[in-house]
């Protein structure tokens, strides 16, 4: 009886191992970074104590575009998630809050520098935008989103620059 139990356990573990190998769709092919930036012409402290200044490069980049031009930019949340070969994934940049969610999936195999994504932006548990933008580490997607505390939220979606996507 003991031998039979060991045999059954072994077969179960082997089947689990084979199952994992047999699903290449779960292989991460890139890493996606989603940031939420509070942009305002008013008091930047409205973003909260724990918000942080965005980098100077990001600030200059945003201010160079007329529609995204504000006096102050504060990052209030970010999330980094793998992009799977054939599975969708969700970024939840505001901690456990589901006020801003981004669903994404690969629409083609990412190259070394870019990835075309199927993207959905969910605000307040409602899907407000569906798109298929191409993003890279150097060329992110900015979505000028809802108003909040005298400013607007900008949702940034980009490839992670530190990790090269697997081709």
């Amino acid at each position: 009886m003991k031998r039979l139990s060991i045999l059954v356990l072994g077969l179960l573990l082997a089947s689990l191992g084979l199952g994992q190998e047999a699903d290449p769709g779960k292989e991460p092919v890139a890493t996606i970074v989603v940031r939420v930036i509070h942009a305002t012409n008013g008091d930047p402290s409205a973003a909260g104590d724990k918000s942080k200044l965005v980098s100077k490069a990001t600030s200059e980049r945003l201010q160079s575009e007329n529609r995204l031009r504000f006096s102050h930019y504060r990052e209030i949340g970010s999330d980094t998630k793998p992009l799977y070969r054939s599975y969708e994934n969700w970024a939840q940049p505001l901690g456990s809050s589901d006020e801003v969610l981004v669903r994404f999936e690969a629409q083609s195999r990412p190259s070394k520098s870019t990835a075309r994504l199927g993207l959905e932006l969910w605000l307040s548990r409602k899907k407000v935008l569906k798109t298929d933008a191409e993003v890279s580490a150097e060329r992110p997607l900015y979505v000028l989103g809802p108003a909040w505390r005298g400013g607007r939220l900008i949702i940034s979606v980009a490839l992670a620059s530190a990790q090269k996507p697997r081709s």
């Binding site: 190998e21 047999a22 290449p24 939420v36 909260g48 104590d49 724990k50 918000s51 980049r61 945003l62 160079s64 575009e65 007329n66 529609r67 995204l68 209030i76 949340g77 505001l94 901690g95 456990s96 809050s97 589901d98 006020e99 629409q107 083609s108 195999r109 190259s111 075309r116 932006l121 605000l123 307040s124 548990r125 409602k126 899907k127 407000v128 935008l129 569906k130 798109t131 298929d132 933008a133 191409e134 993003v135 150097e138 060329r139 992110p140 997607l141 900015y142 979505v143 000028l144 989103g145 809802p146 108003a147 909040w148 505390r149 607007r152 939220l153």
Partner: protein, 199 residues
């Protein structure tokens, strides 16, 4: 009988397919029905025109040749000894070759499958070259505009008409709380949020 017949009986009468008492009964009824009589006459005329064009009986083409082929086949069958009709199978259709070939084929297919299952380079690379993304805004009143910003070196989508997020919501305070807490629940603030629309 002066009662109107049912549709099925009337249809048979119109086609001259009705016999006996049923025919007499409908015929008596139709005597003062000029429309029905005209309809039956029209069908009769049409039938005559068709019969004039299409022959009722047509002989098969080359009947002599057809019959001679059958006679020849019967004669050959009678002359051949019983059991002599079996044709010697080719060597590749013999009893041993087909199972061996099938097994070899399955083995080859399995081997190719194991070699290509984990291969990444074998899957086709689909490069989507469309520059402008598709935009879809399912919520009523929400509009999305796309443009490629040279200054920001980014793809920009501007959403208009999305409800503002309540100013009372503290994202960092809610980050560590469970979803059941009031501060993290946006449903209760939907009315307030929907009244504020993004500029």
């Amino acid at each position: 009988m002066n009662t109107k017949p049912d549709d099925e009986t009337l249809a048979l009468w119109l086609d001259d397919e009705l016999k006996g008492d049923a025919f007499a009964s409908v015929e008596a009824w139709a005597a003062d029905q000029p429309d029905q009589l005209a309809a039956r006459q029209s069908i009769r005329d049409w039938r005559q025109r068709i019969a004039a064009v299409i022959p009722g009986v047509e002989e098969p083409p080359y009947p002599d040749f057809f019959n001679s082929r059958i006679l020849t086949a019967i004669t050959d069958l009678e002359k051949s000894p019983a059991g002599a009709v079996t044709v010697k199978a080719s060597w590749w259709r013999s009893g041993w070759f087909m199972p061996v070939a099938a097994a070899a084929g399955m083995t080859l297919a399995f081997w190719v499958g194991t070699r290509t299952a984990g291969s990444q380079s074998s899957s086709p690379v689909v490069e989507v070259t469309r520059a402008a993304p598709l935009l879809y805004t399912p919520e009523t009143g929400v509009r999305a505009d796309y443009f490629a910003s040279r200054g920001a070196e980014a793809t920009v989508i501007v959403l208009d008409g999305v409800p503002a997020i309540s100013d009372a919501l503290e994202f960092h305070d809610t980050a560590g709380l469970s979803p059941e807490r009031d501060a993290d629940s946006t449903a209760a603030q939907a009315k307030e949020a929907s009244s504020e629309v993004a500029q």
